[in-house]
Every structure is written in C-alpha cells, then in structure tokens.
Symmetry: C2
Subunit: 144 residues, 2 copies
DNA sequence: CCTCTTTAGGTTGCGCACAATTGAATCGCG
DNA sequence: CGCGATTCAATTGTGCGCAACCTAAAGAGG
C-alpha cells in the first residue's frame, strides 16, 4: 500500500499494549482498593501467597522488577502490616519477605478478584488466551 | 481441574500484559534515547506528527491520559525545544500544542523506529496481529 | 589470611500515571 | 444580561519503574 504512515498511532501495537495494560490496571483498582493495596503490591502478594517467604531477589525475578522498585514498595506493604522483612541469618545480604497473619487472611478476600475482573472486562476466553500467548512470546523474546 | 490456584501469578493475563508492556517500553528506550525523548513523549509526538497542532484535551483523548500526566510532560517537551504551547485566542481555556521545526525534523529520524523495533522483538506478524486485536478488544470494553 | 570480585539490597533522582483540587474561561438557561 | 454549571488546564500528593550509585556481606584466588 502506498502512503501508509509507519508512525500512525493507532496501528502501533506498542500503543495498544500500553493502553490495554493501563486499562486492566485501572479495572483492578476498584477491586483492590477495599483491600488497601495497589496493583503492583497485589502482584507481590500473589508471589508470596503462592510460594511463601521469598527474598527480595526472588520477588524481583518473578515480577521482573529491581530493588529500586521493590524496596520502597515492600516498606509500604510492611507499614500496612501485610508482610515482614528480615535479614536472613545464613546470608545477611538477603532480606526475607514473609506474610503476616493479616497478609494471609487477605488472600481469602482476594480469591474472588480474578473472576470478578473476568466478568467485568467481558472479553471472551479465546481472545484472552490469544492475548496471553502473544504477551508471553514478547516477554520470551525480550529476555534474550 | 481440581486444585487450580486462581491466584497463580503466571496464569494471570493481567500480569502477562503488564510485563509485556514494560518489556516493549524497555525495547523502545535505546531507540528513543538518541532522539532525547521518553516513550510517552514519543506517543505525544506521534499524535502531533499525524494531526498537527492539538489541544491538551485532544492529546489526552488520543492517548487516554489526563492533564495531570500531560501538563508536566508537555513542559518537558517544550523545554527540549520540540513543541510550543500557547493559549488559544478563540478559547483561552485551551492550550494549543504544536511542533517546532526541531520537532518536525525529529520525525525523519523516528520513521525508522517501528521497523527497528519489529526486527528487534522477532515476534511473527500473526502473533502481533492477534495481540493488537486482543488489546483493542480490552480497550473497547474498558471504555464502557 | 588478605585482597579482588560478585551479589544483595537500599538510596537518590527523574519521569510517568492518576486522584483530587483549584482557578479561569466559556456556556446555557432563565 | 446575569449567574450557576461546565469545560479546560494546571497543581499537589502518592506510588510506581528504572538508571545510577552506594554499602555491606559473601565467595574466590593466591
């Protein structure tokens, strides 16, 4: 096709991805607000609920985040009374992040969230599966 | 399936979307750094290159961003010498954002970026098209 | 044992996102 | 025309992301 603008906003996949990601985070916001956590904080809790106590490094690998992001975020989660932070005795470089009782209890309330969001977005499963696959393909490629 | 964890991180589409979006922004960073702009600033330039002078409101609608994000961003673009900002004479509530000569000239260098990124990510066109469609479906739904 | 290197986490600084508020300009309706 | 409602942009405050830098602890090699 002659005359196609390679810089046209709406045909940029990057922009669709950026907008969709923000839209989904925005959809989570009202569901997470009653729990008193933000979306990135919720992601940290997902890791801890699934795997138990983890080092800051482990969290960073799971979420693709560095200590510059995680350190202050974890301090806020600690201030909220949801997690504990303590230097590991075996290796004092590491900080072990674990859930408090309140952190574990919050899981009960969070269990409903994925289904609520699924209903709220109203996108069919086939499209979501395609989205999931495509995102993973991009993430895989970016890690090389 | 019995025993599936609804909160398992890796099966959350939201997390895949969040990670992929950050990965793509990271892929843009080294390409945009020589132009002296960030990824959100690049998006603003895409709108201006495509449609010419626009109000802050127009930019916000195109990019799904509000003035709290755009005002300081546009000031930085102005400080970089890429755009001008001026109150509209017809309606002094509006601020018209336009490109400077340097802003227009930057487009010449930006034209190559989409192709460079496409090559760098190495994801096939079919997957990208599916991603684009799925993201738009999500964005559509979120606007209701 | 002693240095050199690596690893882990924290801090600082900057630039988004976004909610909430403000102030000015314009509009709409009586 | 007058005036309350609406629109537009800016500002403030909070919380990410991320680069750059720093410190302390652990490992590796002689």
């Amino acid at each position: 096709m002659i005359g196609v603008n390679p810089l046209a906003l709406e045909q940029q996949v990057c922009f669709a991805l950026y907008s969709a990601s923000r839209a989904v985070t925005a959809a989570y916001r009202p569901l997470l607000a009653p729990l008193g956590v933000t979306y990135p904080q919720y992601l940290v809790l997902l890791v801890l609920w699934e795997h138990g106590t983890r080092s800051v490094r482990d969290l960073g690998e799971a979420l693709h985040l560095d200590s510059g992001t995680l350190s202050p975020l974890l301090k806020r989660l600690e201030a909220s009374g949801l997690v504990t932070r303590a230097r590991a005795a075996e290796d004092e470089r590491q900080v072990r992040v674990g859930l408090t009782d309140a952190g574990w209890e919050l899981r009960e309330r969070a269990v409903e969230i994925p289904a609520q969001l699924h209903d709220a977005t109203g996108v069919d499963d086939e499209t979501l599966a395609a989205l999931h696959r495509a995102c993973h393909a991009l993430i895989e490629e970016s890690q090389r």
